[in-house]
């Protein structure tokens, strides 16, 4: 709802919504502590009442890697640009797992928070935003594992590792943009509850996660460049394995991220006022 809030004396004006509008950054800043509280809530709750607890954060990516290594590396003999397939696939799975879980979690987040949305007001965008908290925690754990595995496989650490920080920012922006759009769409059309897992699954095979981009014929590569996740996955892989970056992929990812973010923010801003009425 359009609401102007001044700091010295808070006066809130509530009026009917008027078309498209940008997000209310000042208000979100005022609520910033809530974002943190909501994100840490998910992390805290995640492994409560599980026997293995936080060990799942280590086990899940390792098991996935093992399965992919056997199926794609050994049986299907997918090439891995000369690196051990385990390391190769893990370096791609790391950002991909984050993306997949962030998109699924934030896509469902609004509908899952229906009691909250219909009972109390706070910036609605925080719900999809905070839902990536536990994914980030997992990502941190898996990164440490990868660094240890690299030592084991004698893949050296290079200064390129520093690139993971801007890459992480890019990854978060893309995941949040896609997740936010899906979360708002899911409120209006529950079909997305069923569609989202398919989108994520198909998207993985349209992204060089389990295979290298070099496997894709040159004339088809532009299709992959249209996929913003191509640049991110290849970027992470290059950063970890210390090989040169694919600047075309990175550039197209970054521009796609900016477009997605703009579309996501304005779409969300447009529909968020109706959430309580239709959720």
């Amino acid at each position: 709802m359009p609401a102007e809030t001044s700091a010295h004396e808070r006066v809130t004006v509530i009026e009917p919504p008027a078309g498209w509008r940008l997000l209310n950054w000042r208000e979100m800043w005022g609520y910033r502590e809530l974002l943190w509280v909501l994100a840490t809530r998910d992390v805290k709750v995640r492994y409560k009442q599980t026997v293995l607890g936080a060990a799942w954060a280590i086990l899940r990516p390792l098991l996935t890697m093992a399965i992919f290594t056997v199926i794609f590396g050994r049986l299907a003999k997918v090439p891995s640009d000369g690196y051990p397939y385990s390391i190769f696939v893990y370096a791609g799975l790391l950002p991909w797992t984050f993306f997949a879980s962030a998109v699924s979690a934030s896509g469902q987040s609004l509908v899952g928070s229906a009691p909250l949305v219909s009972k109390v007001y706070f910036p609605r965008l925080f719900i999809p935003l905070s839902s990536i908290g536990s994914g980030l925690a997992d990502l941190l754990v898996s990164t440490v594992i990868l660094l240890l595995m690299m030592m084991w496989y004698r893949v050296g650490w290079t200064p390129r590792l520093a690139a993971t920080i801007p890459l992480l920012a890019l990854l978060i922006v893309i995941s949040l943009a896609v997740g936010t759009i899906l979360s708002a769409a899911t409120v209006a059309y529950r079909d997305f509850t069923h569609i989202t897992p398919f989108i994520v699954q198909i998207w993985m095979y349209a992204t060089p996660v389990v295979f290298p981009l070099s496997l894709v014929p040159q004339r088809w590569r532009w299709v992959f460049y249209l996929n913003p996740m191509t640049g991110v996955i290849e970027g992470f892989r290059s950063a970890f394995l210390g090989r040169p970056f694919d600047w075309i992929a990175l550039g197209s990812s970054t521009s796609a991220a900016i477009v997605l973010m703009a579309v996501g923010a304005s779409y969300f801003g447009r529909v968020e006022r109706r959430f309580a009425d239709i959720i």
């Binding site: 709802m1 609401a3 004396e9 808070r10 006066v11 809130t12 004006v13 509530i14 009026e15 009917p16 919504p17 609520y31 502590e33 809530l34 509280v37 909501l38 809530r41 805290k44 709750v45 409560k48 009442q49 009691p115 909250l116 949305v117 219909s118 009972k119 109390v120 007001y121 706070f122 209006a188 059309y189 529950r190 079909d191 006022r273 109706r274 309580a276 009425d277 239709i278």
Partner: protein, 411 residues
């Protein structure tokens, strides 16, 4: 008179009934609507389907609340009170009009929103506080006060899913009550907790009001409105019917129950007697007050108003209670069939405490004059019995209805 804390100007909220009812819109619906839309438009052009699928939950409401006032908002279910509160709390947007609020507004539309069952009491205090807009520093300052108000000191590091429902509600209310807001909007939270905690909550709210904060209280508890409020707003079918003194407001609200206009629809009744014996309205009274929601721990009286177009030598009149389609009991207004005179009648049924169980009952009612001459209305009116979490007896006995009984253990 001081400044205004809340100014509401011609506020209205319209729901498209189609949207409100059809919660899970699917692609199929969108596609089929899209196909049907041209037809619909033609029909609209021809002047049909107009108001039917639009519904004003709130219409042309204007009022002014001065700083430090305690306002009681009353009205029957569906009168627009909740919609007003949702707009003021910014949960939903108005369709027309404008509301201006000076200062920080905190709303307690339901206690415990955002509580997470897996988290401990301590963690939930921080979570709930943040959701309601408190900063971490504020929560830390108030922490001990909140815990002791709720009386959960021993369990503060236990996940709230292990709390009794009484403890849960007390903790939730305690967090909300300690929020430093300039305008406090409260809906029905007083219907929770046991009598002692309800009194404590009321005192807390009157404290808030005395300290110059503005309070907007929506409640069916007219006693609480009388004790706490300085002014009332009475809503009826989405419009503001009255704004003014508490005594007049409460009286007006009570009259709305007795008036035939607010009573039953006569089409609900069938049978050969339907034209001759009419049922007009039914109210629940507890402690002399008309209530919308029945407190299971208090005695209750049902007053049924009706009329007869002629005198009958014998009439057996009964009301029956249904729960999930099962008739749990029926009650008759006279020990045996008795004469009914032409004109209006009132049948009164008194119930001891602990008869009704939390949840919703449907009431059917009817009369038999002679074999084959009868009138019956099924599911004429519904009533809700409040959850008396933390109450004494409701916790142990089970079933659709409570039995009056005495018991002892002899050893």
């Amino acid at each position: 008179m001081t400044r205004s804390a809340i100014v509401v100007e011609s506020l209205g909220k319209e729901y498209a009934v189609g949207v409100a009812e059809r919660q899970n819109v699917t692609f199929y619906d969108v596609v089929s609507d899209w196909v049907r839309a041209p037809l619909e438009r033609i029909r609209k052009f021809a002047g049909r389907v107009e108001e039917a699928d639009r519904f004003w939950a709130l219409r042309d409401v204007s009022f002014d609340v001065a700083e430090g006032e305690a306002i009681g908002v009353i009205g029957r279910n569906g009168a627009g009170k909740s919609t007003l509160l949702k707009i003021l709390s910014r949960i939903t947007a108005p369709t027309v009009g404008r509301a201006t609020i000076r200062g920080r507004l905190a709303s307690l539309l339901e206690v415990g929103t955002g509580f997470h069952p897996e988290l401990t009491g301590r963690e939930n205090i921080y979570l709930n506080g943040a959701i309601m807009g408190m900063t971490r520093r504020e929560v830390i300052e108030k922490f001990d006060e909140i815990v002791s108000f709720a009386g959960v000191e021993q369990f503060i590091d236990t996940p709230v899913k292990r709390y009794s429902s009484g403890m849960y509600v007390r903790l939730a209310f305690a967090v909300a009550a300690h929020l430093e807001a300039d305008v406090l909007v409260v809906d029905e939270v007083l219907a929770v907790g046991d009598a002692a905690f309800q009194r404590k909550s009321l005192n807390k709210m009157s404290d808030v009001a005395k300290r110059g904060r503005t309070v907007l209280l929506v409640s069916h508890n007219l006693g609480a409105i009388r004790n706490l409020c300085t002014r009332t707003l009475v809503f009826e079918s989405g419009t503001l019917r009255f704004a003014g003194g508490v005594t007049e407001g409460v009286a007006l609200y009570e009259r709305s129950f007795a008036s035939a206009g607010a009573g039953f629809e006569h089409t609900q009744f069938r049978g050969p007697l339907a034209e001759q014996v009419g049922f007009d309205s039914l109210v629940f009274r507890q402690g002399g007050e008309i209530v919308d929601i029945v407190d299971p721990l208090l005695p209750a009286t049902i007053e049924l108003h009706g009329h007869a177009t002629r005198t009958f030598p014998t009439v057996d009149l009964k009301i029956a209670f249904f729960r999930d389609g099962v008739q749990v009991a029926s009650c008759h207004d006279t020990p045996a069939e008795a004469r009914m005179s032409e004109g209006e009648f009132t049948s009164r049924f008194d119930f001891p405490p602990d008869v009704f169980r939390p949840g919703r009952y449907m009431i059917g009612m009817g009369a038999v004059a002679a074999v084959g001459t009868w009138v019956w209305g099924q599911d004429v009116v519904a009533f809700d019995v409040s959850e008396n979490r933390g109450g004494r007896s409701a916790d142990r006995s089970e079933g659709l209805i409570g039995l009056p009984y005495r018991s002892e253990r002899v050893q």
